[in-house]
Symmetry: C2
Subunit: 230 residues, 2 copies
Amino acid sequence: MPPTPESARRRRRPTKQGTVLTHDLIVATALRMLAEHGAAGLSARRLGLALGADPSAVYRYFAGMDDLVLAIGDELIHRALDGWEPTGDWCEDLRSLGTRIHRAYLAHPQAAQLTANRVSGRSHEIAADETILGILHTAGFRGAAAARVYHAFIDQTLAFAALDAASLALPDQAREADEQQWRATYARLPAATHPHIAAAAPLLVARMNDSAYPAALDLLLAGAAAELEA
Amino acid sequence: MPPTPESARRRRRPTKQGTVLTHDLIVATALRMLAEHGAAGLSARRLGLALGADPSAVYRYFAGMDDLVLAIGDELIHRALDGWEPTGDWCEDLRSLGTRIHRAYLAHPQAAQLTANRVSGRSHEIAADETILGILHTAGFRGAAAARVYHAFIDQTLAFAALDAASLALPDQAREADEQQWRATYARLPAATHPHIAAAAPLLVARMNDSAYPAALDLLLAGAAAELEA
DNA sequence: CCGCTAACGTCAATGGTGTTGACATAAGCC
DNA sequence: GGCTTATGTCAACACCATTGACGTTAGCGG
């Protein structure tokens, strides 16, 4: 029994504890729980508890936990594009769009981990794709070239979002422990056996918290621009 | 009680069903189970069943399921580098190394999904890092530049591996269903509301199964080479 | 304003999961 | 050949997603 589509909802019975459930309320609560309890901390039972409702009530709104996860992903894309306006400079527009998507995911690293490499096919995801393809069109890309650049752009953005989210998603305590352990293993390798790691270790420790996405994005855009001129 | 390190093992009591457990045997069996039952199909109980042992026996070898997952990741890197020989051409070496890592992960997509954005700090991962830094050193990169290129190279490789693994990991049946559903939503959007998607849909469907990694890798190497000359 | 219907919240149960502590057995050192 | 202890086994715990039956109440048709 698939859940009722949001448009067809009419009756809203308050929960035993008084809250009135909504598609959006559930997504928002799930996002909060992910931030509080980590990527593995989103469970139907805990979600029900946080909502003040029976866990199974969630299934009136989503086909299952996986469906909820896809909705969360679509919400992240929604937030990324909210309020964005094109400047007309295709290169600048793609850069700001990529940066926005990357930033929106990293704002909810635990959620990003779950959703960044999923394709939801939901409304906001579709809107984003249409926007990107539109920008490429105005830039002058047509046919296969447009498809290729689109593909590289969106995959690179989402791939880095997922990767960067993974390190951000570690709880503060575990994250320090992780960095500490990094120092404990990599930074302590003897120069005799691992000369290059030993030499680069201090620099790498310093770099670890930053994302390589901006640099990679610049390279991609430069490559695309060069192709346009040719 | 942390498990006994592999080097300190002496007694090996055969299981009730006759098999003799090993660190490597468990990793290999887990890899097989991942291929058979999907990324979510790796469970302690099923692993025990497949090994012909009690599920809890695994805990004599790994601190937990997560520890096992890290070991699987290290094994993937091991396979990626196995037999690799440098040519001396740094650009070619980095390209072949990146391609090998990407290919090794995609050979076990279900395992890649679990491990590609983890840092294990284990021996083969360390060996790979030392190799990459060594190549960059012979190329002439020093200090911060070497660290920056290393960071971009390894993150891009792993990020694309994770992303590409996600689509490959879908079971054949679900994968066709997914592509079908893609056609059903994206390819059917009316040109009136989504003109660019409607125009690009056939090309995008054709591209979907390929990875954007080779193109992205080329861009990265070209950018690095340009930086060297400057 | 009333009554009917079905949407939706609740309950209970099923079969899965990781993990752990106590126990037993046999491997291999002395 | 006996002792120690590593290691396999067993049973139990607490959690998980999901589902079918149940009952209540919101809100429409009259």
